[in-house]
Assembly symmetry: C2
Homo-oligomer: 431 residues x 2
DNA sequence: GTGAAAGCGCTAACAG
DNA sequence: CTGTTAGCGCTTTCAC
């Protein structure tokens, strides 16, 4: 079955509906279905493209015969195209995965690639009629803009990298959640990596991110990160904000919580409960967060006149903290209260204390920091200071976005104010 | 200060060391430093590039004068280049962020871009001497391969997308952690997004991922996801594995835990503890995970002969679960034990029960599912069934990698075996 | 082994 | 407002 171009109805193009990547024919052309092809295997082909694009057709026979396929023409706004029905799924399959490009949208819509590009980028420079036409075609063909290709031209991948030291700690995953949310609101996408608090992995990740052309990075520096790293990153021209932890001071934008104030709230609360000998359960990993919390502790003690009953260090796990209970109890300062580096340690310590025959919240007061969700679940429930990591993540993301927009902006800090959450573990001092 | 090309020592090139993106000069040329320029601002320029690349220099004077800069030549393996000292940081800055490309490596190493490309991709087709030379230059210039540009040619971005419904639930973040780990081991990078269990956001994310050219997707389908979505994704030619939740059955690769077996373990344990009237605290969100757990519950009851004491539904929060305690206690089936959809609900339920004057683990047995870390912290500690989400994440990643390698591979399932973790909440039945 | 040339899909600059 | 042109940095033939 072959038809000459002359037989084609004048406005056949208008009857074509393109749905997904399969061409559906209008009534006028339904006769072609008699070829015995399933509707789904009807694919318009031109220059190896799926869908109804084609060069100008001069000689239908010439197109129809050599390939041994049944063809028929239709025309779109400006040109007469050839629609070529593929016999077998083999070729159809191969085409199915051929990308729909800007150029094809342009061809179908009868405009230039530049115009389509403008439409895609929502430029005001394009006429409304043109825009809607192009948008219609994009929707019909299921066009997806290739951001990677765009980046090659304009150096904006709309991708940012987030590096956290531990994905099993909900403090960091809440942080991540906030960052992801804001980035998505700003139409960006997050590349995620876990440094496991290892600087060499962190380097590795940074290189990889660089190779992927990220626009910027949110970094919670791994333990032991040197300030040189920051200058190196800046040397790459890679915008960065540090968060939760900070290397150096004011070397980059930074989002975090006011750890010192948080610790002060905790200590004041304990002192208010009548405690005057307070110990600190710290963590082994040396980060700015640790230093701030420790300094805050010393400062708060000085302010309140309470006594430093000593510091114990534990690994950042429940077991580690539980195991440190004995050391805490053996502290020469005979603490009546313990402030913990974070809730994970606090929860572990409470387990360990109970194993050692002491009732946390009764015999000894415990306060955590961070107010992770688990603080509500421990027994007794854990008094803690909320640091709002989800918010910090969001702030970090906003700082980064701001910097992407204006690289020369002055270095900024976003600090969230902590909030004391009083629960049962911070009992009044037993007499 | 100008020198003619003739005055340049024959093997000056050999004395050049390129460190980072700054050129350091060997002793032979140290005289040039007398110009009064800081070493750091010495930048080799050619065609706006940083570092010592240049066209062949025919006429040194011509290069030196018009730009008003001090120049001197050196030669590399094959060609004579010009090294141009920039006066001001203005221009130097602009250049600093100019990318080092394959072509520049090639020019410096004196080979073709194709050869460098082969080296980068570790092809065996390149001579050892050439390889080491090229690698040296890459290290010197701090070359980073642009994966986005590579993808444009070869359609492999080494990027995969992971879509989870909730980043605040550690079940999913542990999952994520496993997936990220495996992907990084395989030298891939993870694009992360949070669907918030919303199908329209999920669509949005998928489009965005598509635009970023991900090689594949790991999907924990949002509540209400239709099987059509899967066929659509497949229609895009986008490899995908489902995980933790499944839409349809065997439509795609799948990694998960054997929820039914997990529930069976829990019920058997409870029955072994003397409980015969068991309730189920379920969740409102309708997902395959919920259905499997419910079905498993029914089946396990049938197997053990225990009695279904009724089901209560709660929102997936502590408050929701705590609030449901009254309903659980009012169940006409008078349960002596409650199996909970997951640990979050179990923990919340225990809080609620205690508020209602019942002692969980004493008056009523509680078992959770998932064995989140928090199970060890509740009081009493929570008996739960470990589903090992970190492992599931890793398995999902491996399934996806496998499919990327062989798209025609048969559809596969990876199911991890759950493990019962007995703790205090699953007391023997009170008499 | 290596080099030259042709794109991948997109956008910036400029000319109409 | 729209079209033309010239690449972005890389890989892939296909010669040599």
């Amino acid at each position: 079955m072959q038809r000459s171009g002359d037989e084609v109805p004048a406005r056949v193009g208008a009857l074509l509906r393109i749905v997904g990547r399969v061409v559906r024919f209008g009534a006028l052309l339904s006769g072609t279905l008699r070829c015995g092809m399933a509707l789904q295997s009807c694919v318009c082909k031109l220059s190896k493209r799926l869908c109804p694009f084609g060069e100008r057709v001069c000689n239908l026979q010439k197109w129809a015969s050599p390939a041994g396929r049944t063809c028929f023409p239709y025309h779109s706004d400006r040109r007469l195209y050839i629609c070529n029905i593929l016999r077998q799924s083999g070729e159809a399959e191969r085409m199915k995965h051929k990308k729909v490009t800007l150029g094809e949208i342009a061809r179908v819509a009868g405009v230039s690639r530049a115009t389509v590009s403008l439409v895609v980028r929502k430029s005001p420079l394009v006429a409304d009629r043109t825009r809607t036409k192009v948008e219609q075609v994009m929707a019909d063909l299921d066009y997806v803009r290739d951001i990677g290709a765009a980046r090659l031209r304009n150096n904006s991948s709309r991708t940012i990298g987030v590096i956290v030291p531990n994905l099993l700690n909900s403090f960091f995953t809440e942080f991540l959640s906030g960052a992801e949310r804001v980035m998505r609101e700003d139409d960006r996408v997050v590349l995620l990596a876990n440094s496991h608090d290892d600087t060499s992995r962190q380097n590795d990740i940074l290189q990889r991110f660089r190779g992927h052309g990220v626009d910027g990075v949110i970094l919670c520096p791994a333990e032991g990160t040197q300030p040189e790293l920051l200058t190196r990153i800046q040397g790459w021209g890679l915008p960065m904000v540090q968060s939760l932890r900070e290397v150096g001071r004011d070397l980059t934008d930074y989002a975090g919580a006011d750890y010192i104030e948080g610790v002060r709230l905790a200590v004041q609360h304990l002192v208010g409960q009548g405690h005057h000998r307070i110990a600190f359960l710290s963590v082994t990993a040396r980060t700015s967060a640790r230093e701030e919390r420790r300094n805050g502790f010393a400062r708060a003690l000085a302010e309140t006149g309470a006594e430093d009953a000593g510091t114990v260090e534990a690994e950042l796990t429940w077991d580690g903290a539980a195991g440190s209970a004995a050391k805490v109890l053996a502290l020469p300062g005979r603490p009546t209260a313990v402030l913990c580096f974070n809730d994970i340690l606090a929860a572990g310590l409470m387990l360990g204390l109970r194993r050692a025959g002491r009732e946390p919240g009764v015999d000894i007061a415990i306060v955590g920091l961070d107010d992770l969700p688990l603080a509500q679940l421990t027994y007794p429930s854990l008094t803690s200071v909320a640091m709002l990591p989800e918010q910090i993540g969001a702030l970090a993301a906003r700082l980064l976005v701001r910097r992407l927009v204006d690289r020369a902006a002055p270095i900024a800090r976003s600090i969230v104010a902590p909030a004391l959450m009083i629960r049962q573990s911070s009992c009044k001092k037993a007499d």
